[in-house]
């Protein structure tokens, strides 16, 4: 028997100033059965929603008016005023060059989806966020999902937990 995802149990927040892009994501989520989908155009509106409603997943465009998606992510992960530091954030952006990916990763992005995207890519990011949650790492310089995706057997000492 195959494992399934019941999207009706999950609430989404789309933060995207581009009407068509937001609509595509909305339509896809609605088709998957999600009934609680909010759409806003700016991070400030997103914070208002996050403070008043229970949101499970944020899908955010990088390029936004005012505060951009990266600053939004920074506040979500690192600010004491953050409504939820652990919330999964999928960054959806046409800034697909490697430097953008690593910048987003180092600020605690959960998943990165480069535009132009297709349905398969969006679905795989949703599955990853919902069915394969990652542990969080908190250091002096980073707070976010574990950036080590591949679990490779390592014979040396575990410097994270054993260093003295």
């Amino acid at each position: 028997m195959n494992a399934k995802i019941d999207f009706s149990k999950i609430s989404f927040l789309i933060v995207d100033g581009d009407k068509i892009s937001a609509q595509v994501v909305y339509d896809t989520l609605a088709y998957l059965g999600a009934s609680h989908i909010q759409r806003v155009k700016s991070p400030n509106d997103a914070f208002d929603v996050l403070r008043t409603e229970k949101i499970d997943i944020v899908i955010c465009e990088w390029r936004l008016r005012g505060m951009d998606g990266l600053e939004f992510l920074d506040v979500m992960r690192n600010s004491t005023n953050s409504p939820n530091r652990f919330i999964p954030v999928i960054m959806l952006t046409a800034h697909s060059e490697m430097r953008y990916v690593t910048t987003a990763r180092d600020l605690g992005i959960t998943e990165f989806l480069a535009k132009p995207f297709n349905a398969k890519a969006l679905y795989s990011r949703l599955v990853s966020v919902i069915a394969r949650p990652r542990r969080f790492i908190n250091t002096g310089t980073y707070f976010g999902p574990d950036r080590r995706r591949r679990q490779v057997q390592f014979d040396g000492p575990d410097r994270r937990s054993l260093d003295e």
């Binding site: 019941d6 999207f7 068509i20 999964p88 297709n118 398969k120 919902i130 069915a131 969080f136 937990s161």
Partner: protein
Amino acid sequence: MTHYDWGSGAIVKPEEPKKKKNVQIIPAQTDLKRKAVNFIKGFDINLSPEQLEELEQVVQRSSETFVRDIGKDLMECRKLVINALRDKPKRPEAIIAANDLAYSVKALGGTFQYPLMTQIAKSMEIFVADRTTANEKQLLVIQLHIDSLYVILAGRVTGFGSTVEQATVAALTKLTERYAEPRE
């Protein structure tokens, strides 16, 4: 303890104990998984090719909106660029509009089977990046990009086009390189 090593004749200092790294590992939050993953209701984690095809059709529903809205944006941006050619103070506004348009088209063209538009928009985005204004020749380069995008959209040229379209992309890229400077 610091001591004298008789063998080497050196004063040996003990190694400083390494400071413990302050790293906290927080177990994965499994609330979402617990409430949404099941074996009865919903979509398979691994979608079949047929299901993926259906999902892709949902994405393509917005294709007509894309053609209509981007067509309108292209015309508006073209007007701004033409006005900016005649009127210097209007140039910063035209550059902002061109930058926004380039990003939108680059982001969505490929999603709606117009990867050629994404290619041209990318060339235009690189050209207008970090500019606050442009000279006449640079505005004409932007206008050529807009015109090319419009022709592709009007002709519904999906995919990467033929050799003619690819030659156009190459020519536009050369133009952007040739007129890249000054960047102000």
